[in-house]
């Protein structure tokens, strides 16, 4: 980042220096010898450089616009050809030589076309496109080393990068769940644990993963929250741990535990969820009410709380009851 910032500073300084230098040069070469008053000659040089710059701006811009529109037209044409070749490849034709020649013409467009095809195709068609991509040197994630590197990048990167890589890694979820994910969950580095849990949550694949309970005892509250968000998608994760998390000192963890209890329909936690309706943090109370609205016998408990009139728990319970009645539980 520092080098990028440096480039911005350097570019800015260079342009300003060139601009000031041009004014000085024009002043010295053109106006100073002809005009007696220094301020007047400098002002004339200033005006001259400005007019020249404006002319260059306008002229340059129209030339650029013309070149760009030509390039775009060309790109549109080649994209159509790429899509056609990939479609034929997907149904079983051998289009590798055609794609190779297109790759020479525009590598970027072919890469984008392959990625787009892989994102939409399934089964044999996807395998055919993936194979031709590998043959063309457009590496895909099937290579184990590349898989490791992508997993590491997802763990080390920011949320934007992770969200993108998680999507790319999804077809390899089963193999990752037996190796890289348990290793990451046992790691002492919070970001690795969070990345592994985010993957489980995003894939929603019900994968059996060792070491997942470690995350719920993690010192970092952010890890505990992520663990509870992933909990419903890990069949071997012990449901009883969610009950303990409902009493966590961190409010975000309590709220996540309430949501997990709802998703897992943990009827044994109904009592704890009713208690959570009176949590001082509104987000926890709200999550608990929504959880109660989906667990068996939860609606009756919500009704009791509403009838009791104890505010603010009754208010929170009323909203959840209302949503459940209207069948709008997806909003919760």
């Amino acid at each position: 980042v520092k080098s990028v910032r440096g480039r911005v500073w350097l570019g800015t300084a260079a342009v300003v220096l060139i601009y000031v230098g041009a004014i000085d040069l024009v002043d010295a070469a053109v106006f100073s010898p002809r005009v007696d008053l220094r301020a007047q000659s400098l002002a004339l040089a200033f005006a001259f450089v400005q007019v020249v710059t404006i002319v260059l701006f306008v002229g340059g811009l129209f030339v650029r616009k013309w070149i760009t529109s030509r390039r775009e037209e060309q790109s549109k044409r080649i994209q159509r050809e790429i899509q056609d070749a990939l479609a034929l490849q997907a149904i079983g034709n051998d289009e590798s030589s055609r794609l190779r020649s297109l790759l020479i013409r525009s590598r970027r467009d072919v890469e984008a076309g392959v990625a787009s095809a892989l994102a939409t195709l399934l089964g044999d068609a996807r395998a055919r496109v993936r194979d031709v991509a590998g043959a063309l040197g457009l590496g895909q994630a099937d290579d184990p080393q590349r898989l490791d590197a992508m997993f590491a990048a997802a763990a080390a990167g920011n949320l934007r990068r992770r969200a993108m890589l998680v999507e790319e890694l999804e077809p390899h979820a089963v193999s990752l769940a037996s190796d890289q994910i348990p290793r990451a969950l046992a790691s002492t580095d919070s970001s690795s644990v969070i990345a592994a849990l985010d993957m489980l949550r995003a894939w929603k694949r019900m994968l059996t993963v060792p070491n997942v309970e470690l995350a719920l005892r993690h010192y970092d509250a952010a890890v505990r929250v992520r663990a509870l968000q992933a909990w419903p998608y890990v069949p071997n994760a012990p449901p009883s741990a969610v009950g303990e998390a409902l009493h966590d000192p961190n409010a975000a963890v309590r709220a996540a535990a309430a949501v997990a209890a709802g998703k897992l329909r943990l009827v044994e936690l109904s009592g704890a969820l009713v208690e959570a309706l009176s949590d001082p943090t509104p987000e926890v109370a709200s999550a608990a009410s929504f959880a109660l609205a989906v667990v068996p016998d939860g609606l009756a408990r919500l009704q009791q709380v509403v009838s009791s009139g104890n505010r603010p728990a009754a208010g929170v319970a009323f909203e959840a009851l209302e949503k459940a009645t209207l069948g709008r539980m997806e909003l919760m």
Binding site: V4, R5, R7, V8, G11, T12, V15, V16, Y19, L37, A39, Q40, A43, L44, F46, A47, Q50, V51, T53, I54, F57, V58, L61, F62, R64, K65, T68, A112, A115, S116, A119, N158, L159, R160, R162, A163, M164, V166, E167, E168, D198, R201, A202, K204, P282, E283, S286, P312, G315, V316, F318, E319, L321, E322, L326, R328, E330, L331
Partner: protein, 471 residues
């Protein structure tokens, strides 16, 4: 020393001061525009593949769009439809009906099948009483808060109290957002957890073809007044704000389009209701709080997302708007005067706020003084007419250059105007706006300062024509 000599010396000093001031302001503008160009250039547009992957991801944080509405019957239905149609995996729309006296609420109730909901506020910011909260029976995530009139800031505070998402997007209910705008403006939050606020670019919708709450064809306006404002917006957003954001000293996130971390806004105490410049004031307050506590944070301007807004087409409404903007700037600078030139607040205290104080607030006053002195000097024969004309020409040319730079920046980085005739219009507008329009703005801004110092409050009505072509 005679009185006349003292007068002459004063005039001479004022003349030198104004020349130095004009040189300084123009140099800073130039540096900001150039810096804006390089900062924009370093930012790669999000590839389609990446955008599609992000749009499918459940890892993206939820966003609540807060849209205060006061007498927006003409545009509210299309705007809400456009907001609901944004491409983002997890967002809800919260319209805050701020005691409208027209049919805004009824139109929303009828159009979106609203029912009176039991949803309770979870935030604790003080606001005017909420009459009711409505939600839709349809499978859409729309919430309408009906409250007593309290102004835009009060409405936003009511909205943030009811919102549950970790991010809130404050927009004007008459603005039209592009489909991917929300995704782009949320990007800095994904890239850096210390991001507390982001602002997006606002573009002028006058002249564009709008269908179903979406801008479907982008054209430059045909009238001069909106053309001038297109250029102004480009200059302000692509030049100034990009550069200030690069320096992490962005002081304004437009009230028409900004995303905030909900927790940060709640900690800061929400939007201030006693000022007309609540958007700028909140951002400066966030800078103040985070810098004072030495907490890492960033406030980012994102040039890609586009929110379209209707700008005034009459001098009367434009005058009212500029008067309000100037009072807002004055209010903010008065409230946070302790930050001015204060090294504790880093680049915000030592550069951004002084820039706003010296050039944005005092600028119109000094410019006006310059014109008066030049005219008086010419009448009294104290100023060489040739030099005065030359000085005026150079200043005007510099103004043209800066405006054209903004148009060039637009074409290099955004390329929103596909037709060459639009570019020609904008270039011509860049020349013409310096021959009267900017001087007129200067006078309105001076009036704004005077009104602000006299304690004038209130927004003044913005007359909307509404976006055409609604099906």
């Amino acid at each position: 020393v005679s009185g006349y000599e003292v007068f002459l010396r004063c005039c001479s000093f004022a003349e030198t001061f104004i020349i130095v001031y004009v040189a300084a302001i123009n140099t800073i503008y130039l540096v900001l525009v150039v810096m804006g160009f390089f900062a924009l250039e370093r930012r790669e547009p999000m590839p389609r593949r990446e955008r599609d992957a992000l749009l499918k991801s459940p890892l993206l944080p939820a966003v609540a769009i807060l849209a205060p509405a006061y007498n927006e019957a003409l545009t509210c239905r299309d705007s809400v439809r456009a907001m609901l149609g944004l491409r983002y995996p997890n967002h809800e729309v919260i319209v805050i009906n701020d005691g409208s006296t027209d049919d805004t609420l009824q139109i929303l109730i009828d159009s979106f099948r609203l029912y009176r909901s039991g949803r309770l506020p979870s935030g604790s910011l003080p606001t005017k009483p909420i009459r009711a909260v409505y939600e839709s029976r349809d499978p859409i995530r729309l919430l309408v808060i009906d409250k007593e009139n309290g102004g835009k800031a009060d409405s936003l505070n009511a909205g943030i109290n009811v919102a549950r998402a970790p991010l809130v997007c404050a927009i004007d209910s008459d603005s039209l957002m592009e489909e991917d705008a929300l995704l782009h403006v949320v990007e800095p939050f994904l890239e850096d957890e210390s991001t507390v606020a982001t602002g997006g670019i606002i573009r002028v919708a006058n002249g564009c073809r709008v269908e179903g709450g979406r801008v479907v064809e982008i054209r430059a306006p045909s009238h001069l007044l909106p053309i001038f404002q297109v250029i102004e917006y480009l200059r302000a957003f692509l030049g100034g704000r990009v550069a200030f954001s690069f320096l992490n000293s962005l002081l304004i996130i437009s009230g028409a389009f900004g995303v905030f971390r909900r927790q940060a806004v709640l900690e800061a105490g929400g939007w201030l209701t006693s000022t007309v410049g609540e958007d700028m004031e909140l951002v400066v307050r966030l800078h103040r709080i985070f810098r004072k506590a030495a907490r890492p944070y960033q406030i980012v301007f994102v040039a890609e997302p586009v929110c379209w807004t209707e700008v005034p087409e009459t001098f009367r409404v434009l005058k009212r708007q500029r008067n309000r903007w100037q009072r807002g700037t004055l209010d903010t600078l008065m409230i946070h005067r302790g930050m001015l030139f204060n090294p504790r607040y880093g680049v915000v205290g030592l550069f951004a706020l002084p820039y706003f104080f010296l050039f944005e607030m005092l600028g119109p006053l000094i410019e006006l003084t310059g014109y008066v002195i030049t005219i008086v000097g010419l009448i009294l024969g104290m100023i060489d007419p040739h030099l005065a004309i030359l000085f005026f020409t150079v200043s005007m040319l510099f103004g043209v250059l800066l405006s054209m730079s903004a148009v060039v920046l637009e074409e290099l980085t955004q390329r929103r105007y596909p037709a060459p005739r639009d570019l020609i219009r904008l270039f011509l507008g860049s020349v013409v706006e310096n021959l009267g329009f900017r001087q007129l703005l200067m006078i309105w801004r001076v009036q704004g300062i005077i009104d602000g110092l006299r304690g004038k409050q209130g927004w003044g009505a913005m007359e909307r024509r509404g976006f055409g072509g609604t099906p």
